[in-house]
């Protein structure tokens, strides 16, 4: 007797018989999952393996959260992160935690106390900031504040939270009264942008140089490898510093930003180029490529259908892994004053003045953004690592 096999449930007919309603025996379920495994695309396989790694999944969530908060930075920040949004009454101000109760009683809506800065005979003619316990600045959600352009083109002036009167500084303020909370999120966005541009430039260079090297082989490969190795030997950050030092000082902040990203990309390519070359060289000599060639596949077909798919996942992983290095290099450069400058916000810019004893002793909230940056870099590293394990088809066999 012949049965017409259902394309969606092959082999089930044999295990359960033609007249029986489909009963999912354990064997059938297992077989089906195997079936799904063998017919799944590479993307599905990587995703399935990635999902199994708890630490990588947590990191991916953290990363998604940070990226989103970077994209929506202007919406999240109650104040303009540049000098335009400074609070003149609260310089080097400590973080203000919104509270519900004070000595005057409680309220359902959280509030912070108002501050006043005065210089008079009573304060010995020094600027002294006092907290006015009687003034309550209530914190509201979705308040109107400074104007910005969401995604760069939607003009808006609504912010997640803020006060009607006075200011609220959740992470405190810096020496010129700028809100550290607002600056932190803008800095995350800057770092993501610098990293993306830098990685992209490095990637294009690496693809061209590594591709030529791996494709032609022979003496071209030897010469290119020698140059790549020589560039790789030079310590990167001193080299970054040397290149960055030549920026004309009259550059605007935006020009500096692109110049720094360009430098990061121009110096960051050797490691990636080497990986591209190695991938190309090993994959080119694989048996499945030989098999395809023996079956009469054209070289175009081999490259499109066999080499590229074997390759893209690794390259994406490499890009994710090299991303935090770009971010950290930018931070280091800006920190020593050779990278970005005010009014562009980045972690390095924010940390520029923290080595002074004054800050170390009195204004420790300058260090709050560091936590976010460690989280950002850690998330990238964990996700990159998880992706690498997931993209490696033999990672299961090793465990």
């Amino acid at each position: 007797m012949t049965t017409t096999p259902d394309p969606l449930k092959p082999n089930l007919a044999e295990t359960t018989g033609p007249h029986v309603q489909v009963v999912e025996t354990e064997a059938a379920v297992e077989r089906r999952s195997k079936e799904a495994y063998f017919t799944a695309s590479q993307g599905q396989l990587i995703w399935a393996r990635f999902k199994k790694q708890r630490s990588a999944m947590i990191a991916a969530c953290v990363l998604a959260f940070l990226i989103l908060s970077g994209i929506f930075a202007p919406f999240l920040s109650p104040y303009d992160p540049t000098i335009a949004g400074k609070n003149d009454d609260y310089l080097n101000g400590a973080p203000q935690i919104p509270m519900f109760c004070d000595s005057n009683g409680c309220s359902l809506r959280p509030f912070v106390h108002g501050v006043e800065r005065e210089r008079s005979l009573a304060t010995n003619f020094r600027w002294v900031t006092t907290i006015n316990e009687d003034e309550r600045n209530y914190v509201y959600f979705f308040v109107e504040g400074w104007e910005y352009k969401l995604f760069g083109f939607i003009p808006m002036d609504t912010h997640l939270f803020g006060t009607q009167e006075g200011f609220v500084h959740v992470f405190g303020t810096d020496a010129s009264g700028k809100d550290i909370f607002s600056r932190t999120f803008h800095a995350i966005w800057t770092s993501l942008q610098v990293g993306t541009i830098g990685v992209f430039i490095a990637f294009v260079l690496a693809l061209v140089i590594g591709g030529v090297s791996g494709y032609y082989g022979g003496w071209i490969d030897s010469v290119l490898q020698m140059i790549t190795d020589a560039v790789r030997t030079v310590p990167a950050i001193p080299l970054f510093m040397a290149v960055a030092a030549f920026m004309p000082p009259e550059m605007t902040a935006e020009q500096r930003f692109f110049y720094i990203s360009l430098i990061l990309g121009l110096i960051g390519w050797p490691t990636l180029a080497r990986r591209v070359r190695t991938h190309l060289l090993t994959e080119r000599n694989q048996e499945y490529v030989l098999a395809a060639q023996l079956c009469g596949a054209s070289s175009g077909h081999v490259i499109r259908r066999h080499l590229l798919p074997s390759f893209t996942s690794y390259i994406i992983v490499d890009l994710v892994i090299s991303f935090p290095y770009m971010v950290l290099s930018e931070t280091a450069l800006s920190f020593i004053g050779l990278g970005l400058k005010d009014p562009v916000n980045s972690l390095g810019v924010m940390l520029q003045n923290v080595t002074s004893a004054d800050v170390l002793l009195n204004y420790q909230w300058y260090f709050i953004p560091v936590i976010f940056f460690i989280a950002l870099v850690m998330a990238f590293v964990f996700v990159g690592d998880g992706l690498r394990d997931a993209a490696d088809p033999y990672s299961d066999a090793n465990k």
Binding site: P238, L239, Q364, V370, I374, V381
Partner: protein
């Protein structure tokens, strides 16, 4: 033996070629700086009140040899560089070799000490971690390794400073106590250096340790799973002897090979850590030269020297590996 000599010679030539390419990169960078030495010299004179003309600058260029073609000047620079002679700094008007003096050796010493510290920690801990199946130990090591990457050394230095100022009231900075800063070398000065140097050494070694740990652990876990280890175990070798004599010896090669890149990583952090901890050595001079005075001669010399020490270390590890590892030795002495 003859083969071995030939191997060493080839490696030396390769190292030389690398250095020459590097010197070309560094020298071209120096040339890219807007303004040259002649202008700097005369700009100084200008501030002293004497007027200068374009002809003066041209004369100064001829005097300094800046009118020669690029390749000729590069050739001259590289020949000098290999003799440890880098000419004069245009800004500070001092001989660079004299200016760097033992500052460079102090930096190199600090970096090598951190490298040793990194491997002194990483090799035993990495081997133990790979051999044991303790999930807590392995996961905490993994976290530590990632932290080593995510928290760059300069942030660590900042954090340590933050805590030491808050809790001890001391920033723990500097390399020498005040009375030894400009003294001649003596036993007391060396001891003073050592008593201050532990913090920079620890901070510089921090991320290198994290990386080395990961390398050692990965290499060891690869080797431990292999059949020859199981075979040795079946023959009755066990415990520490099994670990050290079988997988550890195989993992040794790649570890020795990675030394050069770890030194590179440490050099990366050197200038910034030097800035934070106010160390007075070559890293700080580099920042000074680049960020403050735009002194391309000095900066080029320092970058070249740093790279030269990495290339030298790579060369030494190659030779060392050929001596230590019978497989490499066999492949040379065919």
């Amino acid at each position: 033996m003859l083969n071995f000599a030939r191997f060493v010679l080839t490696r030396a030539v390769l190292a030389m070629i690398t250095l020459i390419i590097v010197s070309l990169v560094v020298f071209s960078l120096m040339e890219l700086v807007p303004g040259d030495c002649a202008e700097r010299y005369l700009a100084f004179k200008n501030t002293q009140g004497s007027g200068i003309s374009v002809a003066d600058i041209e004369n100064e260029r001829v005097r300094l040899g800046l009118d020669r073609p690029f390749l000729e000047r590069w050739g001259k620079w590289i020949v000098g560089a290999f003799q440890g002679e880098f000419g004069d700094s245009c800004i500070l008007r001092v001989n660079i070799a004299q200016l760097l003096g033992d500052k460079f050796w102090i930096s190199l010493g600090l970096c090598l000490a951190s490298l040793m510290l990194a491997y002194a920690i990483a090799v035993p801990v990495g081997i133990i971690a790979a051999a044991s199946h303790n999930a807590v130990l392995n996961n905490s090591l993994r976290l530590f390794s990632y932290l080593g990457l995510a928290m760059p050394n300069f942030l660590l230095a900042l954090m340590i400073m933050l805590f030491s100022t808050v809790y001890f009231g001391d920033t723990l900075t500097g390399l020498f106590s005040a009375e030894f800063r400009d003294a001649d070398w003596s036993w007391a000065r060396v001891m003073d250096l050592l008593s201050n140097a532990w913090l920079p050494i620890f901070i510089l070694g921090w991320s290198a340790t994290a990386f080395a740990l990961q390398t050692v652990r990965a290499l060891m876990s690869d080797e431990i799973g292999k059949l020859y280890v199981t075979a040795a175990e079946a023959r009755g070798v066990h415990g520490r002897k099994l670990l050290w004599n079988y997988p550890a010896r195989h993992a040794l090669g790649p570890i020795v090979n990675s030394l050069g890149f770890d030194l590179n990583r440490i050099f990366n952090e050197l200038p910034i850590v030097a800035l934070i901890l106010t160390l007075t050595e070559a890293g700080a001079l580099l920042i000074e030269a680049l960020a403050r005075s735009n002194d391309q001669q000095l900066a080029g010399a320092i970058i070249f020297l740093l790279t030269a020490s990495i290339v030298t270390l790579n060369f030494l590890t190659d030779v060392m590996l050929a001596v230590l590892d019978p497989r490499v030795r066999k492949s040379i002495v065919r």
